[in-house]
């Protein structure tokens, strides 16, 4: 359908100003935080109610128009990249907190509510929403559900999927489904789990109910410096294998430390090869006991300088360096490319060494800032998009890192999603049988393939062309079983 007709039909559903079809006004919607990919949508709509979303979906379904949902557009894998012939359905205006129940400790939210706004609204009741992506001031709860986002505290408190109670989902043909609710489980198959992390391919999230947690009475942050990345990696395992589950356990390497220091002066030791930030929370007595124990374990694992933040201000400063690490790295190179593989923790030292070697091979520097406790790596590959060939080199380098993650039993994406970015690496991680089931599930929700087409799950043909498939259509008896 051409732009004019489509916009006119959509204006029968939404006020004229909530339908954007002007070239200039469409520009800001051409991509998400994976800036290498840009595509103008045919039309943008900004619904304000569930009913409007339903009617937009019914129209697009009937006319065979593709639809891409978008929250705040902070995604890092191109998930919200528009379709050239499609509608970009922006949920950002649906941003009311519908209900906050301090006694039942739940919040019912429209999908455009910003992640941080939930905790801010809950704070007067001594409660908060646990998953805290570094983008939390901007990203939306609907986007968090679609990506199953994590944060620095998911080691102890889980990802989005662990903190959700219910979702209202508009299907491709405009029907409203309630998945979960405010009880702890629901009858039948667990569709709530299935749609979490489904990257806008199965339906549009129009309402979210989350559980809230009581704010811990005591929080302590330790900073430990190491003279090798390998030693810091081993220290992470040492702490967790002794029965201590920190609220967060983050690592930064030298390049990241220097960038953060130059940027905001968090007080990190510049001479360290790596630092660990370890946050412990709970009742004061429990935390005091854990601080002593963790200090001992870190010392035994070879930590040099160990510092415990003495007051909330110092604690905030230590975290500020970590939270500002991406922009800090952004200052030392024209562009960076953020990877997101996860590996079993015990392979941290090996994989970080491997990344260092690849960095030399590709001639591109890499800074590491990541969720060490979960084994979720975020290598930031530094490059300059204005130099011919560098973006391609950065992408090739990234692909090799992800293959390394899969080879040690990990995954190509811990929290940023596959989107358009990692679609080829899906062929490395999954077999034809597995991909076929994914396509089957997609068809069960969206038979015509109108929701976010071309994302998250590659076609078998694409994988076959790449030659990256493990097996073809079940020819080998049990190749999967050997993958441990």
């Amino acid at each position: 359908m051409d732009r004019e007709t489509l916009a006119a039909r959509l204006r029968e559903i939404l006020p004229a100003a909530d339908v954007v079809d002007d070239e200039e006004a469409l520009r800001p919607y051409a991509g998400d935080a994976l800036t290498a990919y840009r595509q103008q949508p045919r039309v943008v709509v900004l619904p304000r109610s569930i009913e409007q979303v339903q009617r937009v979906m019914a129209l697009c379904s009937a006319e065979g128009v593709p639809v891409v949902a978008r929250g705040a557009g902070t995604g890092l894998s191109g998930g919200a990249l528009p379709h050239e012939a499609g509608v970009l359905l922006v949920l950002a205006r649906m941003k009311r907190i519908l209900q906050l129940d301090p006694v039942g400790r739940t919040a019912r939210l429209e999908p455009g509510v910003r992640n941080l706004a939930i905790s801010e609204a809950a704070a007067p009741h001594g409660l908060y929403y646990a998953p805290d992506p570094s983008s939390q001031i901007a990203c939306s709860i609907g986007g968090n559900v679609a990506e199953n986002s994590g944060g620095v505290h998911c080691l102890k408190y889980g990802l989005t999927v662990h903190n959700l109670l219910g979702v209202k989902l508009v299907t491709v043909d405009g029907e409203l489904l309630e998945l979960g609710g405010s009880a702890l489980d629901s009858p039948g198959l667990d569709l709530l789990a299935l749609i979490t992390g489904s990257e806008g391919l199965l339906g549009v999230v129009v309402e979210v109910t989350v559980r809230l947690l009581p704010v811990a009475a005591s929080v302590q942050v330790l900073l430990a410096a190491f003279d090798s990345v390998a030693a810091a990696g081993a220290a992470v395992s040492a702490v967790i294998s002794r029965g201590i589950l920190p609220a967060g356990m983050e690592m930064m390497d030298r390049l990241a430390i220097e960038a953060a220091e130059d940027f905001i002066g968090a007080g990190y030791p510049r001479d360290a090869a790596a630092i660990l930030l370890c946050e412990l929370d709970g009742e004061p007595e429990e935390v005091a006991a854990q601080v002593a124990r963790v200090t001992e374990l870190l010392r035994a694992a070879g930590a040099g300088d160990i510092r415990v933040a003495s007051d909330p201000a110092e604690r905030a400063r230590l975290w500020a360096g970590r939270k500002a690490a991406f922009p800090a790295v952004g200052r030392i190179a024209p562009d960076y490319y953020c990877m997101d593989g996860t590996i079993p923790r015990r392979h941290l030292a090996q994989v970080l060494t491997g990344i260092g070697e690849l960095s030399e091979e590709f001639g591109l520097a890499v800074a590491n800032v990541f969720h060490a406790g979960d084994g979720n790596l975020h290598p930031l590959i530094l490059y300059d998009a204005n130099q011919a060939g560098q973006l391609q080199r950065a992408e090739d380098f990234g692909a090799r890192i992800l293959e390394l993650c899969v080879a040690v039993g990990g995954t190509i994406t811990g929290e940023h999603g596959v989107g358009i970015e990692k679609i080829d690496q899906m062929c490395v991680q999954f077999t034809a049988v597995e991909l076929e089931r994914f396509h089957g599930l997609k068809a069960a929700f969206d038979p015509a393939g109108l929701l976010n087409p071309g994302k998250a799950v590659p076609t078998l043909a694409r994988c076959a062309e790449l030659g990256g498939m493990h097996v073809h259509a079940g020819e080998l008896p049990h190749p999967e079983l050997e993958r441990f």
């Binding site: 006694v103 609710g181 569709l191 015990r346 999967e480």
Partner: protein, 355 residues
């Protein structure tokens, strides 16, 4: 390790392929301890015995992750992880020594710690699934953070084998608490609700709260220092046989469960008021899971639970699940068909005649 170790995946796949060829339904059988949860027990069906497919595939204590074959006995799995000072966060009911990992995951039931330590699906990181097209797929993985592909692993938790045969499961583990104590408080139901809500708003190391006939029990677990401090906030009296109580509650072995009247499970928001039913009650999960003995008509119980934002399931006599809205039922049927197009696995186990 003295565990019996046997990889029967090839034989299981052959059996499934044969059943698909002959279009004969299969009753997937682990230890047979969870038949009480099946709406149709499949007595006339061919039995696919997964019990022989057992053993620990990988256990790395430093990762807090274990991967085991589905036929592994829960008791064996527990012993292996306990030896490393770890435990299954969801503490599944045992219902007898034959309980297997596959049955525990397929039925998706969690013990009294559920609201604090998570559901079965929260601990499931990955599965290998043998489906009704004869395909074997590995979904999820062995790491906590993993968003590649749809979450087929968690979709299979609680699916009662309706989508396929679990071959192995990777689980996230927790360090076992250093100490655990139970406090008892004599409180009527109204007071108990108030107390549970107040306690829930503080970050106390609670791992269970249950009320029955005038008694609220609260379990606290963690370090000595943390638990001692929390005991002071909770109050009440010590309960020397506390752990036996929680095991009895988990496995439905408490005296209350011995009666033969109709038994219902209501899953509702923890702070929801009591539904208007003429019933005896036992509240688990801090009020979010309510056991109810009532002669009221099923429609009435379903209705009451749904008015409170939850759902009900009858266990005795005979399993009956809350009906699904038509749009959801159709979607669930389509999902079933993705994995089991001929409808051969445990047909009717969730919704007889529907899928």
């Amino acid at each position: 390790m003295t565990l019996k170790d046997a990889d029967r995946s090839a034989a299981l796949r052959e059996a499934v392929t044969a059943a698909v060829g002959a279009q004969r339904p299969l009753a997937i059988h682990g230890g047979g301890t969870r038949r009480g949860l099946m709406a149709v027990t499949g007595d006339g069906f061919d039995v696919l015995d997964v019990g022989g497919h057992r053993g620990i595939v990988a256990f790395e204590p430093s990762e807090l992750v274990v991967t085991a074959r589905a036929g592994t006995l829960l008791s064996e799995l527990e012993a292996v992880v306990a030896a490393a000072g770890q435990c299954l966060p969801f503490d599944p009911p045992r219902f007898g020594p034959a309980s297997t990992l596959g049955g525990a995951v397929a039925s998706g039931l969690a013990g009294p710690a559920r609201p604090w330590q998570g559901a079965v699906r929260d601990a499931v990181l990955g599965i290998t699934l043998l489906d009704g097209r004869g395909g074997i797929g590995r979904f999820g993985g062995q790491v906590m953070k993993n968003v590649a592909g749809y979450d087929v692993a968690r979709l299979n938790v609680g699916a009662m084998g309706s989508l396929g045969v679990l071959l192995d499961v990777s689980l996230r583990l927790l360090p076992s608490p250093m100490t655990s104590v139970t406090r008892v408080l004599e409180l009527g139901l109204g007071q108990a609700f108030g107390r549970m809500a107040r306690l829930g708003r503080r970050p106390l190391p609670i791992t269970a709260m249950a009320w029955e006939t005038g008694t609220l029990r609260v379990r606290l677990a963690g370090s000595e220092a943390g638990v001692a401090a929390a005991v002071a906030s909770v109050g009440g009296e010590p309960c020397p046989d506390g752990e036996d109580y929680w095991v009895g509650l988990r496995d439905r072995q408490l005296p209350n469960f011995e009666g033969d009247g109709p038994l219902w499970r209501l899953s509702v928001p923890a702070t929801a008021p009591q539904p208007d039913l003429s019933a005896n009650w036992l509240l688990d999960w801090g009020g979010a899971q309510r056991w109810c003995w009532t002669d009221d008509a099923p429609e009435r119980v379903f209705q009451a639970a749904s008015e409170l934002g939850g759902h009900a399931m009858r266990l005795v006599p005979g399993v009956q699940r809350a009906p699904l809205p038509p749009a959801q039922l159709r979607l669930q049927q389509r999902i079933k068909a993705v994995f089991d197009p001929s409808g051969l696995f445990n047909p009717g186990v969730l919704y007889p005649g529907q899928y």
